[in-house]
Point group: C2
Chain length 187, copies 2
DNA sequence: GAAATATTTTGATCCAGATCAAAAGAACAG
DNA sequence: CTGTTCTTTTGATCTGGATCAAAATATTTC
C-alpha cells in the first residue's frame, strides 16, 4: 500500500494516525485479465487506486465498444460521472492484465472526508487534477485531426500501445482501427 | 451577492461568520459585451461566479475561434486547466453581454480553503460537480454525429441559441456553421 | 428609416476518415 | 509443432460534414 500512501502524501501532509486510518479504509483487490470492476447500469460504488496493472473504461455505442480511457498504475480510477453524481453507470471498468488495486466505496470515502479535513483536502486536489487534465485533453478531441489526436495521446501516455491493443486505442481516439493502423504505418 | 451565497449553501452549511468572510473575499465586477476576463498566455488568476449574463470561453486553432464552453448565470466559470494547474492559459474568457460577476483570485481562494474547512469542502464539491459534468459530456463528443451532439447540448442548455450566435454554438459542437444551419432547418 | 454591417441560409464541390472485404501476422491451445 | 483464433495491415469504395461562394435576413448605427 506504499504507493497509495505516497500518492496521498504528494498532495497533503499525512500524520501517522491518519495514515493508519487510510490503510484500514481501503481494501486490497487482486484482479486478473478480463475482470470487471464496474458494470454498466451499476452504480459506480467504488474508486480504485491501481497499485499495478492497467485498467480501461469503455461503453457500448451502436453495439460497438468505445474505450473512454486507459489508466496505468499509480492512478485513481473510476467512472467519474457515475461515482461522483451517484447515477447508474453507462460504462464498464475492465482490468487488462494481472493487477493489484485498492478500493474504497463512495460512502466510506465520504466518511473519511467528514472526519479528516486533511483527506477532504486531498480529495479536492485529486479531483482538481483530474478536472484539469480532462479539460485540457477534451479540447483536443473536438478539432484535431486523427493523426494529431494520436500524437497528443502518445505525448503523455507513451506506452499506451504496450498496454492495450490497437482497437482500444483507436476507439479512445474516436477513429477506426484501420485509420490508426494507416497513421502508424506512415511514421 | 445572494445568488453566490445561495449556491455555496446548496452544497454546505455556511454560518453567518463564514458568510461574511466569503462576501469580503469576492469582488464585484461589472462587465459589458466584448470584455475579456482572461486572455490567452495569461495565467487564469481568477475564478468568476456569474450573477447575471453569459460568458464564453474560446481559443484559436488555425486562425479560427473555437468556442470551448458557454456559461449562463449562477455558475462558476474559469479556464479550468489554467486556473487549477496554474499554467498559462491557451483560452480566452469573453463576456457576451452586460454582466455582473464576482471574482476571486487563485491564491485568495486557497487561503479561504486553508482557513475554513467548510469552504474547502465546498471547493471539492464544486469541482466534483464540474468533473462529473465534463466527463459525461465529453464522452458524447467522440462518437456522436453532428445532429446528435446538437441534441445533447440542447438537452441541458435549451436556451443556448438565445445567448450566443450560431457560429459560436457550431464551433462548440465541433462542426461548421453551415452544417449547424442545415441541421436546424431540417427540424 | 436608409445605409452599413453582421448573421444565417442555401448551393456546389471536395476530402478525411468510415466501412466493407480480405490477406498477413501473432498468439495460443491442445 | 500445427491448426485455431485473435490482431493488425492493406486495398477499394463510400459518405458526413468541410470548404468555397453567394444570396437572403437581421441587426446596428447614425
Amino acid at each position: 500500500m506504499n504507493a497509495l500512501i505516497a500518492t496521498i502524501q504528494s498532495k497533503i501532509q499525512l500524520d501517522k494516525d491518519t495514515q493508519e486510518v487510510v490503510m484500514a479504509a481501503f481494501t486490497e483487490r487482486v484482479a486478473k485479465k478480463g475482470d470487471f470492476l464496474i458494470k454498466e447500469a451499476q452504480y459506480a460504488q467504488h474508486i480504485y487506486f491501481i497499485e499495478s496493472g492497467t485498467v480501461r473504461t469503455f461503453f457500448y455505442h451502436d453495439g460497438k465498444e468505445i474505450t473512454s480511457w486507459i489508466y496505468p498504475e499509480n492512478l485513481f480510477c473510476t467512472t467519474w460521472y457515475s461515482f461522483l453524481s451517484q447515477q447508474p453507470s453507462f460504462e464498464y471498468v475492465e482490468v487488462m492484465g494481472p493487477s493489484v488495486l485498492y478500493e474504497i466505496s463512495f460512502s466510506d470515502l465520504n466518511t473519511l472526508y467528514q472526519n479528516y479535513p486533511a483527506l477532504s483536502e486531498f480529495g479536492r486536489k485529486m479531483v482538481e487534477e483530474q478536472l484539469s487534465f480532462i479539460d485540457y485533453f477534451s479540447k483536443g478531441y473536438t478539432f484535431l485531426s486523427a493523426a494529431e489526436r494520436y500524437e497528443l495521446l502518445l505525448s503523455f501516455f507513451p506506452d499506451v500501445e504496450q498496454r492495450v491493443n490497437l482497437g482500444h486505442v483507436a476507439s479512445l481516439l474516436g477513429i477506426s482501427q484501420e485509420t490508426l493502423s494507416r497513421i502508424r504505418s506512415k511514421k
